[in-house]
């Protein structure tokens, strides 16, 4: 019998804090390892001048990248604050001139760094890893995986 409440809690915890879903399901060592790996990956990415993405009209891939970032839960907020100095998910329209210029400048400052592409890859990978962890926590919760 699948305890759907337990599965839901595990998935939400996994989203809120990488590895927390596994920790909740009794896989404590794995949970701690996942937390360490994903946190190191994410902050290495930010340190390498990587950035989190903003959904941008007319750029479908930016929605996927933003989704990968948001999969990190609250860690994503730190990324947004570090990149744009505010919590923002959508690229501002040109009509909001001041905001548009500010975001453009902040994005440009990161893009010009030699390690920007690497950093962004680290940040995106951390998000993608956490999506796999949420799915893994789900599988363990329903008994598909031990």
């Amino acid at each position: 019998m699948v305890d759907s409440r337990k599965v839901a809690i595990a998935c939400v915890l996994a989203w809120l804090l990488p590895g927390a879903g596994h920790f909740y399901l009794g896989k404590r060592v794995k949970g701690m390892l996942f937390l360490g790996i994903i946190v190191v990956t994410f902050f290495t990415g930010l340190g390498l001048q990587g950035r989190v993405y903003l959904a941008s009209a007319g750029k479908p891939l930016s929605y996927l990248a933003t989704f990968a970032n948001v999969a990190l839960g609250p860690l994503d907020l730190i990324g947004r604050e570090a990149t744009y100095s505010r919590i923002l998910y959508v690229f501002p329209s040109e009509s909001d001139r001041a905001m548009y210029q500010d975001i453009l400048e902040r994005t440009r400052a990161r893009i010009l760094a030699v390690t920007h592409e690497y950093g962004t890859t680290f940040v995106l990978t951390a998000g993608l890893m956490n999506i796999l962890l949420i799915l893994d926590a789900f599988d363990i919760g329903i008994g598909r995986k031990r």
Partner: protein, 59 residues
């Protein structure tokens, strides 16, 4: 850290450790799988870089 190779090797190490932890249950199996994944990613990256060396830069 601005060395392309070191960044790539560190990335491979993290991804290797992640998938080893995800797919293996014992420490011994995990270390083996993680090492194999890391070495394979670094090796394939170097191989691709070597092949791309012969491609014209363009422009």
């Amino acid at each position: 850290m601005q060395s392309h190779f070191l960044i790539m090797a560190f990335f491979s190490l993290l991804v290797g450790a992640f998938f080893a932890t995800l797919t293996r249950d014992t420490l011994r199996e995990g270390l083996k799988a993680g090492a194999l994944l890391t070495v394979t990613m670094v090796g394939v990256s170097l191989l691709i870089a070597y092949v791309m060396y012969f491609l014209p830069l363009g422009g």
